[in-house]
């Protein structure tokens, strides 16, 4: 078998495997386009006979998706801003020095990264209710998400700072820059891409966050799309085409960002988690 033929065969097998793996995603998009009766047909159709494009508008209107997505956007953006402002400097210092304190700090941060949100929500909820934070539920969720996701961000961004050559910063200091000046003019611009990718990963995580929002935000006007989807799926629901249309509207922007930035996201992810 020649090299080209082997490559073609491998590519073909890879595409088939990817197709099988991504079938659930395909099923979501297809179900959203089916009519109420076609959805329950036996055998199921793998291509909608008459695509029902109007389902999207109907679900958007009837479920008030604009409001849900807006809340998701506020929560995710707030969490990303808070995490970035606090986390970048922390990652920088943890990347620049190595001594016992840095090791302890890193160890504590890695430990915090592993605490399951559904277990931490009990003390956070009780504490927040005592502090009166539940009156600002979205802010409370932003803070809780920031505490949950910042360790992950710090680990990723630290890997980026490790790749910035020390000599450049030193040269800037010799040239008369202050530490602040060197940090903002030399180090940050060099680490910009890594920070951006990590921030996008955090954004995607926060955009789909569920446990904290479900537990803290009682007011339906302030709930994000994940909680909206949860309340859409009652125990005996049969509106699967509408639910899948909701899911489609919810995840398509995330998937689009991911496919566009795939290479960077994958490399940023692997540099932090293993290296």
């Amino acid at each position: 078998m020649t090299e080209t033929n082997r490559n073609r065969l491998m590519l073909l097998i890879a595409i088939v495997m990817a197709a099988i793996y991504l079938f659930p995603l395909y099923w979501m998009y297809i179900t959203a386009l089916k009519s109420g009766s076609e959805m329950f047909a036996t055998p199921p159709t793998f291509w909608p006979s008459v695509p029902q494009w109007s389902t999207y508008a109907f679900v958007w209107e009837s479920r008030g998706m604009g409001r849900y997505l807006w809340n998701s956007l506020i929560i995710a953006s707030g969490a990303v801003v808070l995490i970035t402002v606090l986390g970048v400097g922390c990652a920088y210092v943890l990347a620049r020095y190595r001594n016992g304190w840095v090791d302890i700090g890193l160890f504590l941060i890695l430990m915090l990264q592993v605490l399951p949100a559904s277990l931490m929500i009990t003390p956070i909820f009780v504490g927040f209710s005592q502090l009166g934070m539940l009156d600002y539920p979205r802010l409370a969720v932003i803070i809780a998400i920031a505490a949950k996701s910042m360790p992950f961000f710090v680990v990723l961004v630290r890997a980026t700072f490790m790749a910035v050559p020390m000599e450049l910063e030193e040269a800037a200091l010799v040239d008369g820059n202050s530490r602040v000046g060197a940090f903002f003019h030399i180090v940050l611009p060099l680490a910009r891409n890594g920070i951006l990718v990590s921030a996008i990963l955090i954004f995607m995580q926060a955009f789909g966050e569920f446990v904290y929002s479900k537990s803290i935000i009682q007011d339906i006007e302030l709930q994000p799309a994940s909680v909206g989807l949860n309340s859409f799926m009652g125990p005996n629901t049969n509106e699967w085409n509408n639910i899948m249309a909701y899911a489609t509207i919810y995840v398509t922007p995330i998937l689009a960002i991911f496919v566009l930035l795939q290479r960077r996201i994958v490399s940023g992810l692997t540099s932090g988690a293993i290296k």
């Binding site: 082997r6 490559n7 491998m10 590519l11 890879a14 595409i15 990817a18 991504l22 659930p24 995603l25 099923w27 979501m28 179900t31 036996t42 199921p44 400097g89 210092v93 620049r96 190595r98 700090g105 890193l106 890695l110 430990m111 915090l112 990264q113 592993v114 399951p116 949100a117 559904s118 277990l119 931490m120 929500i121 009990t122 003390p123 956070i124 909820f125 504490g127 949950k148 710090v154 490790m162 030193e170 995607m204 446990v211 537990s215 994940s226 989807l229 799926m233 699967w240 899948m244 899911a247 995840v251 995330i254 496919v259 795939q262 290479r263 996201i265 994958v266 692997t270 988690a273 293993i274």
Partner: protein, 352 residues
Amino acid sequence: MPHSPSSGPSGRLLPAGERLNRMADAPSSISSRKGLPAAQAPGNPVRDVGGPIKRLLSSVRDGRGFDIVLVAFPLGFLFLMAGLPLLYNVLMSFQEVDMFSLGTLMRPFVGLKNYRDLFAQPETLPILANTAIFVAGSIAGQFLIGFGLALFFWVNFPGASWLRGLFLVSWVMPGLVVGAIWNWILSGDFGVLNFILREGGVISGNIFWRSDPNYSLYAVILANIWLGTAFNMILLSVGLSGIPADLYEAAELDGANAWQRFWTITLPMMRSTIGAIIALGLIFTLQQFDLFAAITSGGPNNSSNVTQYWAWEQSFRQYAFAKGATISVLMIIFVMIASVVYVRSTRHEVRG
């Protein structure tokens, strides 16, 4: 990926960091420079005209203070929002907490009563067993499928890395959406999975994945395997690409076949990566909550309930906050043990 302490970035960074400190500290105040201790001696007035506040500001702008400020705020924030809740959780697990005492800090202490009550409950042991099955099943599935895919994509062909990255969509999607999709795929009468299994001759009658107590836990495991396989595969690919190619060339010259090469080179070389990934899988699996909320809600009759969902259910469905805290404390201790394993197996990489 072995790192000897004297080579690589770690050996280079240490002296560089010290050099940086000295340089950075030098302009901030003369008295702080080593070798001039006389300037700090009592009776010898400090020649710094700015006073302590100005010195502090200049240190923040141009010295050690800069680093301390950068680290103090995030660590303080993490302590307040993650460390304190952790301690508060332990406190609550020894207290009696109800809706009326929710607002106070000093509630009646009950000693180990919450823990005793927990283990006296009939559903505790089945739920712990479910958690073990969920963790073992999910990790086994994610790891084996992920490893198989990683080995396949390791053979470099055009488009391999792009297609491999595409698998990660399962990981970036919100857990609740993944749960919703699988809820529909696993539906009893009209689910497409039952249709495929029927056509394939695997089953003769429909399996009621979500409502049959024998299957409900496996329904969630199935969805969780799908969700986590891609992440395992990507990390395993990174590990595979770190194995030096000449090892395989040498083995091939010695006449080792593919199977022998896998057992004698690939697996031993991947040992630390595999350890890290399994520990990471344990951590992620114990964090899985959304799939339970979206597929079975722990039901029917707790047959698919696991501790991380049960703890939330106790606090936010039954309003038994003390019980929720008690379950949390036990699980968090367990997760922390797992994370020590993870940190240890990535130790040289973490230290760079």
